[in-house]
Amino acid sequence: MLDLTMRAIQASLDGLAARQRITAENIANAEVPGYLAGRVDFESSLRDALEQADLSDLSVNTSTSLAPTGMNGNNVNLDEESVSLIDTGLRFQMMTEAMNAKFHLLKTSLRRDS
């Protein structure tokens, strides 16, 4: 049922949702001493999988930011995280639109008349 395009869109929606969660976590812990900001990478795994045209083993990798820490050992950059929230939100909306367009095509092909 799900073709390659749909699975790719779904994978990027999953990855973007994970990034949104991590960003929210980073902002929540912006004042916690010793907290290191989390980062999410799903693009490299998705790109490799798309090159092989095989989306069976996709992964969403989380790591910690290597940015220099402040006096309390925390390296959350609030501006960067706020921008990331907007960026990820826009990307999420874009991928939802892509999925909608895909379903629209599918629906058209299922129609009997016209």
């Binding site: 501006d79 921008v83 907007i86 826009l90 990307r91 909306q93």
Partner: protein
């Protein structure tokens, strides 16, 4: 290459302006800090910004925002003032105040703050524009 480049560009400026405001806050906090006469005075911090060059926009000549290149320090001589009752005064009754001009620092603070707001506005406008683009419906 970034999908929504304005966000990265203006976001980098947000950070630079915030560092600038941090530096001004530090300068203002230490405006009355007196060091011993044989030590250098507290030196004002000046944030140096630098444009980010990106390869992907090079063809049309647009950069990728700004970054903090480093911090420069003000005059270590400070301003000498006659204040003989101060414990750090030398034999002539002179103490070393930092060479920080309040009017100058407050002006810089307002510039930094307005600049921060300006970049926030750019992000807001760009977000609206991107949202409009995302709402283009295929017919």
């Amino acid at each position: 290459m970034s999908l929504f480049p304005v966000l990265q560009t203006s976001g980098s400026a947000l950070y630079v302006n915030r560092v600038w405001m941090d530096a001004i806050a530090d300068n203002l906090a230490n405006v009355n800090t007196i060091n011993a006469f044989d030590e250098p005075a507290f030196q004002a911090r000046y944030v140096v910004a630098e444009a980010i060059r990106t390869d992907n926009n090079e063809a049309i000549g647009i950069g990728g925002g700004t970054r903090v290149a480093g911090v420069e320090f003000g005059d270590e001589q400070g301003r000498l003032r006659y204040q003989p009752d101060h414990p750090y005064a030398n034999e002539q009754g002179i103490v070393r105040y930092p060479d920080i001009d309040l009017g100058d620092q407050m002006t810089q603070l307002i510039i930094a703050q307005r600049s921060y707001q300006m970049n926030l506005t750019v992000i807001d406008r760009a977000r609206d524009a991107y949202l409009q683009a995302l709402n283009i419906q295929p017919r």
